[in-house]
Amino acid sequence: MAYSNKVRGSYQEILTGMKDAGLLKVERYIHSAQAADIEVEFPEGASLKKVINICANNYLGLSSHPEVVKAAHAGLDSHGYGMSSVRFICGTQDIHRKLEKMVTEFLGTEDTILFPSCMDANAGVFEAVLTKDDVMISDRLVHASIVDGIRLCSAMHDTFKHSDMAHLEEKLQLHNDKRLKMVITDGVFSMDGDTAKLDQMADLCDKYDAMLFCDDSHASGFIGKTGRGTHEKCGVMGRMDIITTTFGKGLGGASGGCVSGRKELVEMCRQKARPYLFSNTIAPPVVAGVIKVLEILSATTERRDKLEKNTKFWREGLTDMGLIIKEGDTPIVPVMLFNAKLSQDVSRDLYEEGIYAIGFFFPVVPQSQARIRTQISAGHEIHHLEKALDAFKKVGKKYNILGKSKQEIIEMYGM
């Protein structure tokens, strides 16, 4: 047996070290469908607890929407459970191409290709369209999946300071001799909830003949007047060269992702992107569910409008009680606590009050930037948000952080 006690011991040591450092991730078991009200088993073996979920990416409340569930059932019946093949052998159904065309129309791009996840889309896209003669210039806070995709690509890589357009321009000048340039950003940044300046970025890309890439996973379906995404909010629909996004958040919440953009770039992905070529695509029932999601969102903006109202209510409620939140207008609302242990304590106490929200701390966010990341949904009703605000007030009073400045909180609890 090659898995000797020595080998086992070395892994146990690593895991023990992670546990001792408070970095071991422990999962909570949800016994219900994903929704505003869920039933959770935590810790393992504990009796079920009814809580309000304010940490899901279920922005539009579609994860368990009856019409989506019904469509997925119908897709399962009509197109089966799986394809047992990658796309280019015998894994492409009519509904896969139908969904690609619907996404293209929804995002206002030229073409779309599905991936098993947006993680896979980001892992595969750069290598498929860029070479060692090119350069990728990315915002320093882009999602980990983009960082991984960049690592897999032979093109040169450089970064610009988060949302710093002057710094981006310096980098575009520095690399102006490269064959192709691509500027890379998230649309909405998942940890801070701020939005990329895509309008200014598109202008800079025009000026320096660079392509513009945006991962809109935390925006598709609800950012912008009709929910098309950050490019709609910034008035640059039609000027994006590549948008990647997920169907695992606002757009139904199941799984799958895509690359959408210029038709030649999409075709390059179809020919060369390894996660596309060497993995099955999205399963038929999920495809059918996402098609229904896009039908719902194309028919009415009711859900993104409700999300916008909920977000405003939530942000005002937290601010009024004296908590420090990251400014912005997206449904990602980080409540800043700065100290890692405090973020864990507040999360635990909120759970006791029936509110499910997770504390984030280094290395997920920078040192002394620990926080509770809250995420609002169109699936929330005002009574959910009021109850959650009451819980934040009670816990905030307990830790004496209401109305306190960053400096005061750090003085009480440390960095």
Partner: protein, 80 residues
Amino acid sequence: MEDMKEIIKAYVINEYVEDDSEITYDTPLISGGIVDSFSMVSLKRFLENKYKISIPDDKATPEAFDSVNKICSLVNEYLK
């Protein structure tokens, strides 16, 4: 030489230091986590443009870029 050190130090601070941390000529940049290996690319390009030199990729190692003093030594090697 002092001038070069100051120019490189100023570039490193402007480019990579996001808080009030002090940087000296001997502060470990890469092993100290101030400059990540990704960011070495822009530092190398800056040096090449600024001093009109070409640093071979196999010489642009994390060790050679690990402090302002070491970077100056590397640049001087190719200025000659």
